[in-house]
């Protein structure tokens, strides 16, 4: 930059007399710290101004000094005067306005941030609420199903028969047979998981003949499986059959019961 031009641009006078904008003042202070010529030119103008102004005075009445000294050196603080003043201050009340504008802006930004944040939180909470509602309705329907199943088991006409494995007492299932409606329900207490191409099939035995009561869909969340109705039965059995089932059992029963 051209220092000479800058010096003669009027910026020095503008700065010293307090007419420069804050931005101009900051730039000037930076440059005068950097270039001694600028600082020297400033000092020269300051001296000329000081000389001119101090050459004439207006007489001040004597009580003013007393007032000031009293205010300054008395222990009671005069808060009314506690205003910030410096060379950088812009003329007049503009200074206050700038601060007010700055403060309002900060407030605005703060409010906006708060609003965005709150709305984000609200969206998140709404999502969680919907998820919880769904979870609740799932749980409710599961519970209702279990209540119905429990009701079936407690009906007076329902006969219960447990089907056991000959060698492993941990492998068993339970039959609930409603002797009035002839409905058959199966509870799979513990059966080994079949191979992917095999499926369990339930049979009723009457006169040593097997009657197909349907395939067992292995589902963990179900307590009771509704099977085919049967009018009469002497025993129940479950065999492991190829997927889709067989017309007569092809293997020995995994579990077997007597009514």
């Amino acid at each position: 930059m051209n220092i000479k031009e800058y010096i003669s641009s009027g910026i020095i006078e503008s700065y010293v007399l307090g007419l420069a904008t804050q931005q101009e003042s900051q730039e000037f202070e930076k440059l005068s710290a950097q270039y001694p010529e600028i600082a020297a030119a400033r000092n020269e103008f300051e001296l000329a101004l000081e000389q001119e102004l101090t050459s004439s005075t207006v007489t001040v009445s004597g009580h003013i000094k007393q007032n000031i000294v009293q205010k300054i050196f008395s222990p009671v603080e005069d808060t009314e005067m506690a205003r910030e003043v410096s060379m950088e201050t812009k003329p007049g009340s503009n200074f206050i306005w700038k601060w007010l504008v700055a403060a309002s802006f900060i407030l605005l930004v703060g409010t906006a941030f708060w609003a965005v944040n709150t709305s984000r939180n609200a969206k998140r909470l709404e999502k969680e609420r919907v998820a919880l509602l769904q979870q609740l309705s799932r749980t409710e329907s599961e519970l209702n199903a279990m209540k119905q199943e429990a009701a079936i088991m407690q009906k007076p006409d329902v006969k219960m028969a447990s089907m056991n494995n000959a060698s492993n007492p941990m492998v068993y299932a339970t039959i609930y047979w409603d002797t009035t409606s002839k409905d058959v329900y199966l509870m799979v207490n513990n059966l080994p998981k079949p191979a992917s191409d095999k499926q369990y099939q339930l049979w009723a035995l009457l006169d040593n003949k097997p009657i197909d009561l349907g395939m067992i869909e292995a589902r963990q969340d179900k307590l009771l499986y509704r099977m085919k109705n049967v009018q009469q039965a002497e025993a129940f059995a479950i065999t492991l059959e190829p997927k889709g089932g067989s017309s007569t059992p092809t293997t020995t029963p995994v579990v077997l019961s007597k009514l």
Partner: protein, 174 residues
Amino acid sequence: MTYGEQELIASLRHKDEQAFSYLYDHYSGTLYGVICQIVENTELGNDVLQEAFINIWRHIDSYDETKGRLFTWMLNIARNAAIDKIRSKGNKQTQRQVAIPNNDSLPLSVSPRLDDFGLKKIILKLKDEQRQLIDLSYFQGFTHEQIAKALDIPLGTVKTRIRSALTQLRSLLS
């Protein structure tokens, strides 16, 4: 007792009462003159002078000698206090806010006595237009934007003209 400027500043920073007394005795008359030229009323000037010196005393720690001379700093405090005063004075301010007087009717001052010293005396030697701009910006405290609006001149032009008026003013000083 007399002080060099460095010594005076150091003593003021130590809240030395004698140093303050010296400062007041040396500069109150000059600052009072500048203040009265702005507020155009010696009674108001008394109040402003008190405020100015109290501010000088309270804020001496914020004075930075690398940025300028002590007198310049005090002059700006006094001028700011005076302009604050005319801005807060309802009667005078409303008039000033409503309309900046045009060239023909520009009153330089209420009292002629307040014109014949200091910067007011010097700007009398400037061209009317330049004098008006310095009066509006320095003595009445209007921002460049306010002047541009009131005189209906582009902001850039106001800035250029004020700068050139100030360099003119400077040449009249030395």
